[in-house]
């Protein structure tokens, strides 16, 4: 008899517990469920290259003079004595002050023109790949003056604009910075001005032009 009572009691306890759970399940104050979704998207390699198809560079006379003199008036000093002599013509003495070309600050045959921020790139590349910009001179790099004279482009280089003091090279590479970050670059031209005998406009329009190539591997 007592054993039977315990059995009934146990069953009753189980039923009470389950019923309580059921009540809680059927009317919770707050129910929450969770699931997970794997999300993926593909992004392409991209390259946008901005360039000037024509660059007009105006060089003021003061700038050109500064190019030759370093921006200061030229006084070539000498501590020596200039000796004069009779040159054979009555009434004339002759003296040689002997200014040497080496006394000049700059050789006009080796002037450098830096065209800062002359190209720009936005790029996205594959993992591990860099973006590259290469500059190639044309087959003939002579700028012809409309009033006579010529300017030769002896060499062309490029660099990133953030490397303002660098000498540049034929190409420059960098880790892509994304579409939201524009990377600017410079062109550096070595000019021979020694034959620029007339003021005016010197141009290679209609002739051989520079080629700038931007690439992602």
């Amino acid at each position: 008899m007592s054993l039977r009572l315990r059995s009934v009691k146990s069953a009753g306890t189980l039923a009470t517990l389950i019923f309580s759970l059921f009540l809680f399940s059927a009317a919770p104050a707050e129910a929450q469920v969770t699931g997970t979704v794997d999300v993926q998207i593909d992004f392409p390699s991209m390259l946008i290259f901005y360039y000037y198809d024509t660059l007009n560079v105006s060089v003021p006379s003061t700038a050109l003079a500064s190019l030759m003199t370093g921006g200061v008036d030229e006084f070539i000093e000498t501590t020596g004595t200039i000796t004069t002599g009779f040159d054979g013509v009555t009434g004339f003495l002759d003296a040689n002050a002997a200014i040497s070309p080496t006394a000049l600050d700059t050789d006009p045959a080796a002037a450098t023109l830096a065209l800062r921020r002359s190209w720009a790139v936005r790029s996205v590349a594959l993992a591990g790949a860099n973006t590259t910009v290469t500059v190639t001179p044309g087959t003939s790099q002579t700028l012809t003056g409309n009033n006579g004279g010529t300017i030769d482009i002896d060499a062309v280089r490029t660099r990133l604009s953030t490397d303002a003091t660098g000498g540049g090279s034929g190409s420059v590479s960098w880790t892509p910075a994304g579409l939201g970050n524009v990377v600017f670059g410079d062109l550096i031209l070595d000019l021979d001005l020694s034959n620029a005998g007339a003021s005016g406009t010197y141009s290679n329009v209609g002739g051989s032009q520079l080629t700038i190539t931007a690439s992602n591997p």
């Binding site: 469920v33 969770t34 593909d42 392409p44 936005r122 996205v124």
Partner: protein, 178 residues
């Protein structure tokens, strides 16, 4: 024991709902269910690939003569959107108001950062994603149960994406019935 059996049947019914209601949709993955409601989600979503047309209005390789500095500054779209209109479905008791359902999205990138997608485990290669829930809607119901469907609008900040390739993450969907 009779009540215990009843309870088990109720739970089974609640968990097993939802993904058979619309046979044209991709199979949904059951989530961790509550007692009165159950959730099933798409196992995977491949968002439409980013195209150059939507970013730069042209091909992936462009050489553009410069007309002005402003032209360089303004040509690129840096924020893209992708809509996932039917990401999950949930079975709820008939008559449940969708206004009582709060949906929370939590995106974890493959590199483990929140609210981002990333290219593998490389933490530096990724971008931020803002998730805006779409309104939940009742797509079907009978006298006992209703099926609620929901999704989200993903806003992708791709301005600093440097690397091409696949970006991924895991989007956790939590629906709370208040």
């Amino acid at each position: 024991m009779g009540k215990a059996t009843l309870l088990v049947l109720c739970l089974t019914t609640a968990v097993g709902l939802s993904d058979a209601r619309d046979r044209e949709r991709p199979p949904l993955r059951p989530g961790r269910a509550g007692t009165r409601v159950s959730l099933a989600t798409l196992p995977r979503v491949e968002l439409p690939a980013v195209s150059s047309a939507e970013l730069v209005r042209g091909s992936t390789m462009q050489a553009l003569p410069i007309a002005s500095e402003q032209e360089i500054a303004g040509v690129v779209v840096e924020m893209l959107t992708r809509k996932i209109p039917a990401m999950w479905e949930m079975s709820v008791p008939a008559g449940t108001s969708v206004d009582r359902l709060e949906v929370v999205y939590d995106l974890i990138s493959a590199s483990g950062r929140r609210q981002r997608l990333s290219a593998g485990a490389a933490d530096g290669e990724g971008f931020a994603v803002r998730i805006r829930p779409l309104p939940s809607i009742v797509v079907s119901q009978d006298e006992h149960r209703a099926i609620v469907r929901g999704g989200a609008l993903l806003e992708l900040d791709v301005s600093l994406v440097r690397r091409a390739g696949r970006y991924s993450g895991s989007l956790q969907v939590t629906v709370v019935e208040r």
